[in-house]
Symmetry: C2
Subunit: 277 residues, 2 copies
Amino acid sequence: MEIVSENKCFDGVQGVYKHKSTSCQCDMTFGLFLPADCRNDATPVIWFLSGLTCTHENAMLKSMAQYFANRHRVAIVFPDTSPRGDSVPDDEAYDLGKGAGFYVDATEEPWAKNYGMRKYIESELPKLIFSSFPLSPELQGICGHSMGGHGALTVAMSNPDRFRSVSAFAPIANPTKSDWGRKQFLAYLGEDESVWERFDSTILMKETGFPGPILIDQGTKDPFYDLLMPGSLMQAMADVRQNGSFHLREGYDHSYFFIMSFIESHIKFHRQAAGKS
Amino acid sequence: MEIVSENKCFDGVQGVYKHKSTSCQCDMTFGLFLPADCRNDATPVIWFLSGLTCTHENAMLKSMAQYFANRHRVAIVFPDTSPRGDSVPDDEAYDLGKGAGFYVDATEEPWAKNYGMRKYIESELPKLIFSSFPLSPELQGICGHSMGGHGALTVAMSNPDRFRSVSAFAPIANPTKSDWGRKQFLAYLGEDESVWERFDSTILMKETGFPGPILIDQGTKDPFYDLLMPGSLMQAMADVRQNGSFHLREGYDHSYFFIMSFIESHIKFHRQAAGKS
């Protein structure tokens, strides 16, 4: 693992690190904010999965997360959203290939070799982080935005013992029924739609739900509202009596201005679920 | 109007008053909590509509509302849930007749003469209260529990200019599709189901929504969950992008212990919507 940069930020450190990834068969970069007094028995870790077109940098630079993470003494991991590099296959569209990994393990060509984002988030990156920094896997929560909200919800429901809490900003909530999802699942996972189901929050909610609390914020002026399908997930949450809160936020859109407006409540939510409030 | 009782309570006064009601053709009793320093340009008024089997007393005695109402300087009105008295028709069932007015104006016999709870809440009681106490109709919010949650939501959506905000605890959210609703609407309103629709929150949400914010709390261990149908209202809120928050509260049931656990957040919500935070 290589240190790309480490900057003092509030009372903590914002680091950026690079490592060779076996899941993605390329170098991968991630951001990690460590608050002051970081201790592996005391500091909750929040994973922030970003959305389409993002790298590890977007949320790190635009969400204001560090201000609140330092104040509430939580660490935040900012993974990239896809494999990177000249040897990695891509597509001309913004919503397929680089910047659009969709947090699945691709099985189809030309994606299968590099697009292993699911195992990267589920296994490889946590192993690296918990062996390299004073953080404990006992106190994890996961959050995400848009495609990353889809990632956070589906990763959490597939790993109920790993995360104490999950939250999302404007998640792609029912991708097997949306143009944000069907195109990518067909490309990465192939034609058998039954394989897609474990990557759909609404379906997983109906099947298993999540043992901890869920927090979701969705802007009412989100230009991608119809692609996100928040109503499907709300209905599913009600059907299974999922412990959770769903906020329809008047006037907010899909941007980081929306995220920064509510990031503190997400950080406090995860901190409380980690038993630290 | 007759003073039944006035008790100092925190820094304010908890009053109970009786008056002859034209809407209900009987004497009606209501509770009113006035906080300290009550002024008609400054004190928000929250209507609290109670549920099946309740009188004006239940929320007044069991919700802890006064503690928070005084602290946050809001007034709370506690109306009764049906007409009362020996001359008023009743039914042996707990969910029809006295204590079960369902906040409609009955058109069918034997209910039509007395069961005018909708016009009582929409017109008669506010007129009396705003002419008798130092309160202003400019700063109203409405809240309710169960049958009263149904009342609060439908009265608010039918009177969008009157209320700045509406909230509910475990509302009967889709009564035209529930055994809590169909039985009563048939008895009070007759067989034409199209008449029932203006008394159904889910239908009104899809048709008009509400211009202000909505807050709903629903316990996941509510024994009446399936009768309440929260998912239908959540889906409708998502469909129309309603400004609002829906909390599925892990482990809470249908009781006043649930209500007291979250009543402060409702009072603060209405106070903020009244521009007083």
